[in-house]
């Protein structure tokens, strides 16, 4: 069990971000990815959690564009990482409205500032043809997603 007087899950996550790494946890008992980082695996309660660094490749699961007054439109997306966890982030480096479900994306670290530690964002992953790619099967990522949330799988009941 993590000693919370020494180190917190989010604290470890930040240290990885500062090194340009997107970190997540894997439960050593069943191999399931856990995100956001926790002191114990959801459902099983196992404290046998190991930190891993993601390869940073993922697929856009859901997307929106926020219109704050006086600001350029801002993308917000949910990204399914190839290691089997989902996170909120944004896709930069393209028109926010052109961010598509199923689009393949790659992580990069946004620098942050005095108040905000560096944090992971994504950019479109260019295919060999040089255009933003769409990953195989990504378009139906919802059905195949390995339920990173640790909740009873509502998703499998769908459709």
């Amino acid at each position: 069990m993590q000693d919370l007087k020494q180190q917190s899950p989010y604290g470890v996550f930040i240290e990885h971000c500062k090194k340009g790494e997107l970190a997540f946890q894997v439960c050593a008992d069943d191999g399931r990815a856990v995100f956001y980082p926790r002191v114990a695996a959801p459902r099983s309660g196992s404290t046998n959690l190991e930190w891993r660094v993601s390869k940073g490749l993922g697929t856009v699961y859901a997307t929106t564009v926020v219109y704050y007054k006086g600001e350029p439109p801002l993308n917000v997306a949910l990204v399914d990482l190839d290691e089997g966890f989902r996170m909120m982030s944004r896709v930069e480096g393209t028109d926010p409205l052109q961010v598509r479900i199923g689009m393949r994306v790659k992580v990069k670290m946004a620098p942050g500032d005095d108040k905000q530690p560096p944090f992971p964002v994504f950019t479109p992953l260019l295919t060999e043809e040089g255009s933003p790619g769409s990953g195989g099967g990504g378009g139906s990522g919802g059905q195949n997603h390995p339920d990173p949330s640790g909740h009873p799988s509502l998703g499998r009941r769908g459709k």
Binding site: A62, V65, Y67, A77, R157
Partner: protein, 384 residues
């Protein structure tokens, strides 16, 4: 919910507080108290009859305590379950349990908000989430917008179909003198309004107004001797699926697919037995999801189901006859008002918007970012 008895308790009094824009310095508890006195008048009970207090409000952290002090009552039983807009459906289920077990006999559920007066940001400050806040989603709108993006992607749902929900709500609102919105609305106006969080314009989003309400429940036996005909609680179902939208397993399937069947099972009825549906319409996507998850159309068909005025006045299914959170009133947590309309329909008190022969009404509450889902089935005297 197993263990509760179909029809064992009844709603005997309901009322709204003043709605829309209230006077400066009005407090959320002023609105709760005003609605409470009106609901007591509705049933003929007195403050001193209340021995159970159920409340939740974003502006009042200790709502049952604060309300009990304000009203000068000392409840035997209290419950401050706070799970967002569906809190009050949960309160009905919990009040039923308490009444069945003799922990209280007359339960008050109350809510109030001054979010229009003090601003939404002040009334409902967002909790900091280090895995979300850096990306600056406009919450809760952006979470529901992402659910809409998935529904559009998977099922071909269109922005026009989303707009149909807002247009139907507006048509109902024009039949409700208490509704905030007074002018007709077209699909083109919804699509052309200011964009908030794609695919939602401001017309796809619920109102930001002041308001509150109160509901009084008691045992079926005691309800018989009160002023209005009792509206029985036939079934209840509660479900939680996640807190943050990134942890929702499938953005196109809400936990209404669990709370609904629980309520139907307890009530011993099916969707086709329901005469009127009151669904928490925080955003235009939510009635579409709930119509699917509660069994009124197949999964993925919600957008096509609502097209062509199906849920508008004169349509096949009466949905949100008050005008809903989109056009009638949305004071932050809208669930209590969702139920009040359903109760009034079963009583036959809805005048121009009254659904003919309305014996069974379904009220469904949603909280957080599609996080908590609670369903209540109400029935008139002929159903028990």
């Amino acid at each position: 919910m197993s263990g509760l008895k179909r029809g064992s308790v009844a709603v005997v009094g309901v009322a709204e507080s003043d709605l829309g824009q209230v006077a400066p310095h009005t407090s959320p508890v002023d609105l709760m108290a005003q609605a409470t006195l009106r609901a007591l008048d509705d049933c003929g009970l007195k403050l001193s009859d209340i021995d159970g207090v159920f409340s939740a409000a974003t502006q009042v952290r200790t709502a049952p305590m604060t309300l009990a002090e304000y009203l000068g009552i000392k409840p035997r039983y209290f419950d401050g379950t706070a799970i967002g807009g569906s809190s009050f459906m949960a309160h009905v289920a919990h009040a039923q349990a308490a009444i069945e077990h003799g922990l209280c006999e007359v339960a008050l559920i109350a809510y109030g908000s001054t979010q229009r007066s003090v601003s939404r940001a002040a009334a409902s400050p967002r909790e900091f989430n280090p895995y979300e806040s850096p990306y600056r989603p406009f919450m809760p709108s952006s979470a529901y917008a992402m659910a809409a993006s998935r529904h559009m992607h998977q099922y071909g749902t269109t922005r026009e179909q989303l707009a149909e929900v807002a247009v139907a709500a507006r048509k109902w609102a024009l039949l409700n003198p208490k509704a905030w919105e007074k002018e007709p609305l077209t699909i083109e106006q919804v699509l052309g309004a200011r964009m908030v969080s794609h695919p939602f314009t401001v017309r796809d989003c619920c109102l930001v107004v002041d308001g509150g309400g109160a509901m009084v429940l008691t045992s079926a036996a005691r309800a018989k001797s009160l002023k209005k005909k009792p509206v029985h609680v036939l079934g209840v179902g509660e479900s939680l699926s996640h807190a943050s939208i990134a942890s929702m397993p499938d953005l196109t399937v809400s936990a209404a697919a669990e709370s609904g069947p629980k309520a139907y099972t307890m009530a011993g009825i099916k969707p086709s037995d329901v005469d009127m549906v009151s669904l928490y319409d925080a955003f235009t996507i939510t009635p579409i999801l709930f119509l699917e998850d509660l069994g009124f159309c197949p999964k993925g068909e919600g957008g096509r189901f609502v097209a062509g005025g199906t849920i508008a006045p004169g349509g096949k299914l009466a949905v949100n006859t008050s005008g809903g959170g989109l056009s009638y009133c949305h004071p932050g947590m809208y669930g209590l008002l969702v139920m009040i309309e359903a109760v009034r329909q079963v009583r036959g008190e809805c005048d121009k918007r009254q659904v003919k022969d309305c014996d069974v009404a379904l009220a469904h509450g949603n909280g957080g970012v599609l996080s908590s889902q609670c369903t209540v089935l109400f029935g008139g005297p002929s159903t028990v």
